[in-house]
């Protein structure tokens, strides 16, 4: 137990100390400046100034509005097909080395991956998952 945390601090984390100091300065400065304007500035509120959005429409109703459940399906499908790119980045970055080591195999592997996703896409399309009914 005890050997872990100290070693971590002494070697790997040491490089982050300047960043930590910068973070402290940033928090202090931004806090100071926002609060200074509130302290020193004159404050003369009226009805229009106090409204939520000064030169826009009057806000009507609640922010917690009900919206169609169909959005969830679209959002889910978006995430599903968006995530595939996450797998492609490391593959693309390493592709040169992979090509040297394994020849065409990594390329075919990625084709298979995309093919599986394509089957999923056809499934979603034919099942009407992309239709706004």
């Amino acid at each position: 137990m005890e050997m872990y945390i100290p070693t971590l601090l002494s070697t790997d984390m040491l490089g982050y100390v300047p960043i930590f100091i910068l973070l402290l300065i940033a928090i202090f400065l931004s806090g100071l400046l926002t609060n200074l304007s509130w302290l020193l500035g004159p404050s003369r509120p009226d009805d229009i100034k106090a409204s939520v959005y000064e030169s826009g429409m009057d806000p009507v109703g609640t922010a917690h509005e009900r919206f169609s459940v169909k959005f969830y399906l679209v959002a889910m499908l978006f995430i599903l097909f968006d995530i595939e790119v996450v797998f492609m980045y490391p593959w693309a970055v390493q592709y040169k080395q992979l090509l040297l080591g394994y020849g065409w195999f990594p390329f075919i592997e990625m084709l298979v991956f995309v093919l599986i996703l394509f089957v999923g896409y056809i499934y979603v399309y034919k099942k009407g998952g992309l239709q706004w009914r």
């Binding site: 137990m1 050997m3 394994y102 195999f105 599986i116 089957v119 056809i122 499934y123 034919k126 099942k127």
Partner: protein, 501 residues
């Protein structure tokens, strides 16, 4: 792990049975999309059968780690692959008939069965904790959908939501355990974990190690519905389409028990000088699971709930076997795999038959079964065979399964646990035989009209399963010999023996 071309080509060759399953799943999705619904059950069955045969034929003679250390493809892996595929195949017999009786032709379910079988195999034959988790989630996602399959029914929704929330929670426990193991040793590979360096690191971090082991254990005890983590089982099985509930109770548990056995084995290797802690925990879980499952099942008035609680009880027996196997030389691991295979046959049979009668009775209340022996003698007799086998009555396979588990426990000096197991299985005999008494020996005839015109496929399934249960009850060596052979080439037993001198 060697990242070489040899490893790659061996992995490619060994991946063929798994790729067959993947391909079957994709083909099923396409057939479903293009409305080819009549071919779906057949394609599913063919895919599972071909994959099982391929795994059996192509399985290497010796224990082999492939896929860059991710998977174990030799040893017991082909056998487990075959057994899990059989669990899927048995379900297919009853599924189409059940769905059409319920008037809900949900065709997506076939692709999901194949994908969940794939997940189970990936989990059971994994050699890396990350692979275990991916397999577990692949399997679980499909099972969550099975629970919520009839999306317009309240009960099904309840089952799906309960299973999903509790299941995700349990998965989180498992993942936390894995991440602690990774944090301490820097590896998730099960073989690398049991090397000298990592054992030293883990032993100098006892607190973290046992926390991690406990968390992993909790994740799996939930999946197999063992005592403190069983509460989801009855509600989920009641809401799930009946044949799929049978599939849930067998295939997924078989896979979970295999990988749990392997993981516990590694953890025991790590805690070697003062081992026995995990055995104690498993033993306690087994004790309470057997007692709780059997006693509560005896009070049930609903067939599906009774079978759900009885599946908790059977989990207890298998945990007893696992405990015994871990405490001794791991030879007892054979008994678990044998038991789970037999349990697969009889439990899917029982759930399938309840599903066949369900539509005619409107519900699964046990009263409906009263006097069924006169109206549908053959149907009732087949159900009686499954129930007798579940109860462990001698000429049937269920008896051989229980015999091997209890004998393993006695050989491991777990006499108290074995005694409790035998006593609670007497309670088990009570509630199984109560249904048989209701069917055959009850003069009051309250059951509604019963139409015995069943379609050919489920009837074939019943005949086949009954025949297999009788056959394996009389000649258990037909299954025990392949299991023996698989274990003789597995390095699981040999390393276990050397670790416990």
């Amino acid at each position: 792990m060697e990242f070489s071309l040899q490893n790659l080509s061996a992995s490619t060759q060994q991946s063929i049975p798994l790729l067959i399953l993947l391909l079957t799943g994709l083909v099923l999705m396409m057939l479903d999309s293009f409305k080819q619904r009549s071919s779906l059950p057949w394609v599913t069955a063919a895919g599972l059968a071909i994959s099982a045969i391929a795994a059996w034929v192509m399985g290497p003679d010796s224990s082999q780690i492939t896929f860059f250390g991710m998977m174990e493809t030799g040893g017991i892996a082909p056998l487990v692959h075959v057994f899990i595929c059989i669990s899927g195949l048995c379900t297919i017999f009853f599924l189409n008939d059940y769905l059409s009786r319920q008037g809900r032709l949900i065709d997506d379910v076939y692709a999901l069965i194949v994908f969940s079988v794939l997940g189970m195999i990936l989990m059971a034959n994994a050699n890396d904790l990350i692979m275990v988790f991916i397999g577990l989630e692949t399997m679980s996602m499909c099972l969550y959908i099975f629970a919520a399959l009839f999306k317009t029914e309240t009960r099904s929704n309840e089952a799906g939501l309960k299973y999903f929330l509790l299941g995700s929670f349990a998965s989180a426990f498992l993942l936390l355990g894995i991440s602690i193991i990774y944090g301490v040793t820097g590896t998730t590979n099960l073989n690398v974990l049991a090397t000298a360096d990592n054992i030293n690191v883990l032993q100098s971090n006892q607190a973290l190690f046992f926390t991690a082991g406990g968390l992993i254990l909790i994740g799996f005890l939930f999946k197999v519905a063992a005592f403190p983590f069983h509460s989801w089982t009855p509600d989920v099985y009641t809401g799930t389409p009946t044949p799929l509930a049978g599939f849930m109770a067998t295939g997924s548990k078989l896979a979970a028990f295999v990988i749990l056995g392997v993981i516990i084995h590694k953890l025991e290797l790590v805690s070697a000088p003062e081992n026995g802690k995990f055995v104690t925990v498993l033993g306690l879980a087994a004790l309470f699971t057997m007692i709780y499952g059997n006693i509560v099942a005896a009070r049930q008035q609903n067939m599906k709930r009774m079978l759900a609680y009885s599946s908790i009880a059977h989990t207890g027996y298998v945990l007893l076997g696992l405990c015994a196997a871990t405490a001794t030389d791991y030879i007892g691991f054979k008994a678990i795999i044998f038991y789970m295979f037999i349990y697969t046959l009889m439990n899917i049979g029982a759930f399938g038959m309840v599903g066949m009668a369900e539509r005619q009775f409107e519900d699964t209340d046990m009263e409906n079964w009263r006097g069924l022996g006169k109206k549908a003698p053959y149907f009732a007799a087949a159900l009686a065979v499954f129930l007798f086998s579940l109860a462990g009555i001698p000429p049937l396979a269920g008896f051989m399964g229980k015999y091997h588990v209890f004998i393993t426990a006695i050989r491991a000096d777990l006499v108290l646990l074995a005694t409790v197991g035998i006593l609670t299985s007497v309670i088990g005999a009570y509630y199984y035989i109560r249904v048989i008494v209701l069917m055959f020996f009850d003069s009051q005839d309250k059951s509604p009209e019963f139409n015995t015109n069943f379609s050919l496929v489920p009837v074939t399934g019943i005949v086949l399963l009954v025949a297999l249960i009788v056959l394996f009850g009389i000649f258990p060596s037909l299954i025990l010999n392949p299991i023996d052979q698989a274990f003789s080439v597995s390095d699981l037993v040999s390393t276990a023996v050397s670790a416990h001198p």
